[in-house]
């Protein structure tokens, strides 16, 4: 493994991204399809229900699935166009081997799997088990995520297994666990419209979780007040009752400041605090310093706004807090989330109808993806990999001695650091595209180039797969079956819609085939994903995310079942913490005092601006899927740099002109988009594009010490008009 086998242009020529704009059979009316299959969107954590129309084993269109309770037929543009990824010209239809100077050549499955198994064995013999790492994906079904975790720990015997949810929700997860005891949204979405006040922190709901807007607007029609914190006036901020243009990284100022005001005005629930929580005194002590003036300085906003927020949030009888990556993607992401959750617990407004808390899952199975054990520190059932009891349970389900189970390994970004440092020599990945999604892209590329062996399971040739020795042609979600767990904690079923094309294989079969070549045929004997789910139920039994009582039949009948669901006669748990009983052993919520600290890299004279990154509604994550769908690319064809007119004027930049964003790590040249809806000290660039257009060339690989999430939402940059060469090189 070294550099790309051929130049990028030739790889793109052969493997795309090309655009698919026309469904199989063209746009002529579909007429009566052979089948209409009720399933779910393959993209974000909302996991909307959708019906796919099938003719001659091809997905030819969709129909809204109005009976599915979460989205009732509603879809965002990605969901509408998702069916265009079936029958896509870029679809990988055979296992491929890297051929120096020629690109990739097809081979047989036996050959591809044999080579992969040989490389794994040889690296592990020479350098030890941990020298081979595995990276999974948060878009995998629960069954696949479970299998990936088990494969890494049993067949590979490596501790170095992690997943791309590391870039998404781990801060929220860690904070939830620390304060509330359970890592899951506390309430079903049906509680949102019943709240009197809703605080949306760092969540561009309109673009990243569009289906949730209807819940918010329903709340507003019912009289709810909406508060939005964001450095950009997003579409939901536009009509909010209070919009606070917080400076990226300043959120703790707002949360602590609000709580300071609430204590002064007597808007906290002292009885609830006394009966159901610990740690209040320490928190109250810390909060003393967070006067609106001090807090406003931290947050970069007028103190008045913090007081107003407290006035809306404090005295309400019911409330709902929603947050997402805006406060989580920081080197203090866990602290940000804990400060936010403190606000909820201090009012006692949780665990009842219309009062609650939720983090918004970004990736399709971000929730289930981490519960099933592909996260470096967790075993299935959201169990702690260092806890002897937990280890024993999983070891018994897997039929291995507990001592054989590896301990906690490195997180995703740390795995790349270890590869770069030469400690990890081999890698197997599935549905993870670090060559777009990880910060500091040059570093990631250098790391990939150092690997002795890299194999990946993918259905499109992703930017990262271009670096592989072996590409194993896997399956789309609709070519297989299995469950995912949506943003609410509702376990749902993706039905098989079509067969994978000849030459490609279901992901779970690829993993089992590899396991058997590594000598573990008996431990990976499954007939179907349903079979894997049955084992997953046993593995999760008694764990925090307990799926023991969830069956595929129940999911079909009940439109999904919420975990924990310990037995088949248990109704499932849409709402956690009812009656003020929290997830910790003592049944209490544990307040966490949080002090603000600056970001790893704050702007200075040389790099005077804050760069913040995020999504646009037409694209999903690293864009490996959506950048191949014509309608979506037409909607948002390329990244852009949002900046305020005042900043634009200072820089001498006009609308649509090319600008170069420079950080200490890299540069990127994109078009300027001049809008008054952003803070003048901040620029925003969406991250879905690779190579020269990857804003992750500029971002910093600073990590939160607890969650190990990268600090995507703030680093220091400067922006200037692009030079002629830069413009031409695009």
């Amino acid at each position: 493994m070294a550099k790309l086998p051929i130049v990028t242009e030739r790889l793109i020529e052969e493997f795309g991204p090309h655009l698919n704009t026309i469904p199989p059979g063209g746009f002529a009316p579909v007429g009566e399809p052979d089948r209409v299959v009720e399933t779910h969107c393959c993209f974000c954590g909302q996991q909307c229900g959708i019906k796919l129309k099938v003719k001659e084993n091809k997905v030819v269109g969709f129909e809204p699935w109005e009976e599915f309770p979460f989205n009732q037929g509603k879809l965002c543009p990605k969901g509408v166009k998702r069916y265009m990824q079936d029958e896509h010209p870029d679809r990988l239809k055979a296992p491929l081997l890297r051929a120096e100077g020629r690109g990739f050549v097809p081979t047989s499955w036996d050959d591809a799997l044999d080579r992969t198994a040989r490389a794994i064995k040889s690296i592990q013999e020479k350098h030890g088990k941990a020298a081979f790492a595995m990276l999974g994906g948060a878009s995998l079904t629960n069954e696949k995520a479970y299998l990936v975790g088990k494969f890494a720990r049993v067949a590979l015997g490596t501790e170095n297994i992690d997943y791309n949810g590391r870039l998404c929700m781990v801060s929220a997860a860690a904070a939830s666990k620390k304060v509330l005891g359970i890592d899951r949204a506390a309430n079903p979405w049906s509680d949102i419209p019943k709240a009197e006040v809703i605080l949306v922190a760092g969540a561009n709901i309109a673009e990243c979780a569009p289906i949730t807007t209807d819940y918010l607007w329903r709340a507003r029609e019912n009289g709810a007040k909406i508060i939005v914190l964001d450095p950009r006036m997003t579409p939901i901020a536009r009509t909010a009752d209070l919009y606070i243009p917080v400076r990226s990284g300043g959120d703790i100022g707002i949360f602590n400041g609000m709580l300071h005001v609430m204590i002064e005005r007597g808007w906290i629930d002292r009885k609830f605090i006394a009966e159901h929580t610990t740690g209040w005194d320490a928190l109250e002590k810390v909060l003393e310093r967070y006067t609106p003036e001090h807090a406003g300085k931290i947050a970069g906003v007028p103190p008045r706004l913090i007081v107003q927020a407290a006035e809306l949030w404090g005295p309400a009888r019911s409330s709902f807090l929603l947050h997402a990556r805006g406060i989580e993607h920081h080197s203090k992401g866990v602290d940000n989330c804990m400060a936010a959750i403190n606000l909820v617990v201090a009012t006692g407004r949780i665990g009842r109808e219309g009062s609650g808390y939720a983090m918004i899952t970004g990736q399709g199975n971000g929730q289930g993806g981490r519960e099933q054990g592909q996260k470096a520190d967790q075993l299935p059932g959201a169990r702690d990999i260092e806890n002897p009891e937990h280890r024993k349970h999983i070891a018994s389900v897997w039929g291995v001695p507990e001592a054989v189970l590896p301990r906690k390994g490195l997180s995703a970004v740390e795995i790349f650091e270890a590869i770069h440092a030469g400690k990890i020599k081999g890698l197997l990945s599935i549905c993870f595209n670090p060559m777009v999604s990880l910060p500091d892209q040059d570093f990631v590329r250098e790391a990939l180039e150092k690997l002795e062996f890299y194999a990946t399971i993918e259905f499109f040739m992703s930017e990262t797969a271009r670096h592989a020795d072996v590409v194993l042609a896997g399956s789309l979600l609709e070519e297989d079956e299995g469950t995912t767990t949506n943003v609410e904690g509702r376990v749902i079923l993706h039905r098989k819609v079509v067969d994978p094309p000849e030459g490609a294989r279901a992901d779970w079969k690829i993993i089992c085939d590899l396991a058997s070549r590594l000598g573990y045929v008996n431990k990976f004997k499954y007939d179907s994903p349903r079979d894997i789910f049955e084992e997953l139920r046993r593995a999760s039994a008694g764990g925090i995310s307990d799926y023991a009582g969830i069956t595929w039949d129940r999911i079909e009948r009940e439109h999904g079942v919420f975990w924990p669901c310990p037995s088949e006669d248990h109704p499932g748990t849409p709402r956690l913490y009812e009656g003020g009983r929290f997830g910790h052993a003592d049944g209490k919520a544990h307040f966490q005092p949080v002090e603000w600290r600056p970001a790893t890299e704050e702007p200075d004279e040389e790099y005077p601006l804050v760069l913040t990154t995020g999504r646009v509604v037409a694209h999903y994550l690293s864009g490996s899927q959506t950048r191949r769908i014509g309608g979506l690319v037409k909607q948002v064809p390329e990244p852009f740099c949002e900046m305020h007119p005042r900043l634009a004027e200072k820089l001498g930049v006009s609308e649509g002109e090319l600008v170069t964003v420079e950080s200490r790590r890299g540069t990127v040249t994109v078009k300027a988009m001049i809008v008054r809806t952003i803070r003048p000290d901040t620029v925003f660039v969406p991250y879905h594009w690779p190579d020269e257009r990857a804003i992750n060339r500029c971002t910093i690989k600073a990590l939160d010490p607890v969650s190990k999430i990268p600090e995507y939402k703030i680093c220091a940059v400067r922006v200037r008009r692009a030079t002629a060469e830069e413009a031409a090189a695009r």
């Binding site: 109005e66 965002c76 969901g79 309109a206 243009p245 003048p680």
Partner: protein, 205 residues
């Protein structure tokens, strides 16, 4: 209970274009979206507005059509041009006060939103209103709307001297009884600070 109708609630629109992408999936004009999403001065605001055919009670598009190609059905739906009649003259395109009909040179014909006739005629909702994630476009009965929305539905439009009543309504604050569409004054500069200007918000102190 009265019949379901289409309503537009601009306060809810998030500009996601799911409506545009989904419109393309309706069988009467598959591959060609008939709804527009207007971005109202993106420089100043994130406000967006979907524009469907408003299905005028007395459609001017039909009135100006020299080939009598545009028909209004008994249910009030103003249909797309009849293919064997439309001569592609674009009179309707120019006449419609809402800018709805589109001329397609490749087929030398006008096409426009027909309220997903293939769907609404058999009791389904139009594509745009079904998928709209924020339900800025919604298909329901007036009673349901009244029960679930803060504003009122208005279908009276005033363009200068001209009054237009439409089958499709917009949701507006209670005090608004009709929508006045004022002519744009060219060359006039806006002086007031922009409401969505984040810099101004930060300075207010």
């Amino acid at each position: 209970m009265s019949e379901r109708a289409l309503f537009i609630d601009y306060a809810r629109c998030i500009g996601c274009q799911a409506c545009v992408q989904a419109c393309e999936e309706c069988d009467t004009h598959r591959g060609q979206p008939m709804i527009h999403l207007e971005t109202i001065r993106r420089r100043d605001s994130v406000q967006t507005a979907p524009q469907v055919c408003m299905h005028c009670e007395d459609p001017i598009c039909a009135q100006v059509c020299p080939a009598d190609a545009i028909k209004k059905g008994p249910d009030g739906v103003v249909h797309s041009a009849l293919t064997h009649r439309c001569i592609g003259c674009s009179n309707c395109v120019l006449a419609c006060p809402f800018g709805v009909p589109k001329y397609f040179a490749a087929i030398d014909q006008m096409m426009k939103c027909d309220l997903c006739y293939d769907r609404t005629s058999i009791g389904k909702k139009p594509m745009c209103a079904t998928v709209c994630p924020s339900q800025a476009l919604t298909f329901m009965t007036p009673e349901e709307l009244e029960r679930t929305r803060r504003g009122t539905a208005v279908n009276e439009w005033v363009f200068g001297e001209e009054r237009v009543r439409t089958k499709v309504s917009v949701v507006v604050p209670h005090e608004v009884k009709e929508v006045h569409v004022n002519l744009v004054q060219l060359g006039k500069r806006r002086e007031k600070a922009e409401p969505d200007d984040v810099a101004a918000l930060l300075e207010e102190g």
